[in-house]
């Protein structure tokens, strides 16, 4: 960096501006959630907690939150199990077919959301899956699998397979080898895959908008319909709560992560 000294100030300044641009939309939501009036004027006037109260007491909001939580937990379990299996299978195939399957499993990330949503909606209409738990979990699992395959795959790529051979040569059967050798070593990848799967489902909006029903809708769908209807600061309260929760989780993860790092 010393070598570009004249540009150092300019670089620092532009980096600060970009950081502000990245952070601004997150920061702006928090004060908005304490607004007194039902408007999205910024900065908000007054202070009240009524939007938080509304979120926890209004069944429209709270039920959709519980629905999202349940769906995301189910997706985290299903996608992590299925995705981990697939990642292990791909890693062991060591052939071009493995690469092809990996590529196929990652395609849901790049398929345009609305096109996929329209297709899923068409299929769900004929199979009666619109507005059902199964419908949400299946669609979100599809979108979550790529993250699990990538996270676990990255972990497997640095995993020394001779450890499995060693365990086998010492008389462990395949199941014992998997649960006592492989699984503990790829656990970080599995856990981050599960986290990504949870977040993907909890945040998914496009497909959910198409397969939703008034009886069973997820939180992002509720947020979206509230935003298109009127200026309701409850959305900001929800955003702030999500922000607080993720900050806590990641903060704790960092604290424990660095502790672990120091020990080893």
């Amino acid at each position: 960096m010393k070598h570009f000294n004249p540009g150092k100030l300019l670089l620092g300044l532009s980096v600060a501006l970009i950081a502000l641009w990245l952070l601004a939309p997150t920061i702006v939501v928090v004060p908005m959630s304490f607004a007194e009036k039902k408007s999205l004027a910024f900065p908000p006037s007054g202070f009240s907690l009524k939007w938080y109260e509304n979120f926890f007491t209004n069944p429209q909001w709270f039920n959709s939150f519980i629905t999202s939580l349940k769906v995301a937990l189910m997706v985290a379990v299903v996608a992590t199990v299925i995705g981990t299996m697939a990642a292990i299978g791909i890693e062991r195939m060591k052939s071009r077919a493995g690469g092809l399957i990996r590529m196929l499993l990652i395609t849901p990330m790049v398929v345009p959301g609305v096109v996929l949503a329209v297709g899923v909606y068409a299929v769900y209409l004929t199979t009666g899956l619109v507005g059902t738990w199964t419908g949400y979990v299946l669609a979100h699992t599809l979108l979550a699998i790529p993250f699990v395959v990538i996270a676990v795959g990255a972990n497997l790529a640095v995993f020394d397979q001779r450890l499995e051979t060693a365990a086998a040569s010492l008389g462990a059967n395949r199941l014992t080898t998997f649960f006592t050798v492989t699984l503990p070593l790829i656990l970080p990848g599995i856990l981050s895959g599960a986290l990504f799967a949870f977040v993907t489902s909890f945040d998914e909006v496009i497909v959910s908008l198409f397969i939703t029903s008034p009886q069973l809708k997820t939180l992002p769908v509720q947020i979206f319909s509230s935003m298109t209807r009127d200026a309701d600061p409850t959305v900001a309260a929800v955003g702030s709560l999500i922000f607080l929760t993720t900050t806590l989780i990641i903060g704790l993860g960092l604290i424990f992560g660095t502790r672990k790092g120091r020990k080893t």
């Binding site: 697939a86 345009p112 329209v118 959305v235």
Partner: protein, 286 residues
């Protein structure tokens, strides 16, 4: 799923590790292949003739306008992302560990609020009486119409997609050996020349990887153009949704969807050779 040629290779397929990938492939077929197949087949079957919906699509001026606009917005967003992400990722790759952690946090924090909420934040910032316009007024400038314009859509989309540009760029830049820059300088090269002849070529794989993913994601954007844009800034995804949900015309909506699919995967196929080069080059750089 590829069809195995003989029964022996099929049984080998079923007994081997490929078996482990079957549940994932089953989900892929049920929830992606069949739905997309339905969209594609309906675009051909729900019309007087096989190609009617496509002929309608390409003969309707509004559709062409929106198609071009979709590509233009995606291209502008990608370009702005490259320009903005480049210095940022560079800074990330050269600063000390503590500052680096802060810079990484700034990239990740936007992900900590829900995607739809992030768009709400942009509505708050961009509206006529919003923060940006108030700042402009305070500084003595005129108000700028941001909400319900393409400019507003572009600003919002760029911020949302920026992390997808910064992360691959950073990954490549981190692998660039800075001694190469020193070497070029010690051989008497001007800093500008050093940048264009040494650093930029080495970082290009990151630019290609990031630009490809940003462009593809931008092509399919739906929520942000819908909430930040107006009639004059709707993108192809919005039209697909209108045809299917409002007009119940699955044939026309399907044809639009297929156009979007072809554009996305066509672009991926075009970019693939550059992506492959990425691995070779980054492998060489390390």
């Amino acid at each position: 799923m590829s069809e195995p040629e003989s029964s022996s290779s099929f049984s080998r397929f079923l007994s081997g590790p490929a078996l482990l990938t079957l549940p994932a492939l089953a989900i892929l077929i049920l929830v992606m292949a069949v739905p997309l197949g339905t969209v594609i087949s309906r675009s051909f079957t729900e019309g007087e003739t096989v190609l009617e919906n496509y002929i309608w699509f390409f003969n309707t001026p509004v559709n062409i306008t929106v198609l071009i606009r979709t590509f233009r917005i995606a291209a502008v967003v990608t370009l702005v992302c490259v320009i903005v992400a480049y210095p940022y990722a560079y800074a990330m790759s050269v600063v000390g560990p503590r500052l680096r952690l802060i810079l990484i946090m700034c990239v990740l924090v936007p992900f900590w609020v829900s995607g739809v909420v992030r768009t709400l934040a942009w509505v708050i910032l961009l509206q006529d009486s919003g923060v940006i316009n108030k700042t402009l007024l305070a500084l003595g400038f005129d108000k700028v119409k941001l909400i319900r314009t393409q400019l507003g859509v572009t600003i919002g989309m760029t911020q949302i997609l920026l992390p997808f540009m910064i992360m691959p760029l950073y990954a490549v830049m981190r692998g660039i050996d800075l001694r190469l820059i020193q070497a070029a300088k010690s051989l008497g090269a001007h800093p500008v020349k050093t940048f264009f002849q040494v650093y930029l070529p080495l970082s290009l794989p990151g630019v290609f990887a990031g630009a490809t993913i940003v462009f593809i994601l931008a092509l399919g954007f739906y929520i942000t153009p819908l909430l930040l844009g107006g009639q004059q800034s709707s993108m192809l995804s919005t039209l697909v949704q209108q045809q299917v949900l409002s007009l119940l015309n699955w044939g026309r909506g399907g044809a639009m969807g297929v156009v979007l699919l072809v554009a996305t995967f066509g672009f991926l196929a075009l970019a693939a050779p550059f992506m492959r080069q990425k691995y070779k080059m980054s492998g060489g750089a390390r």
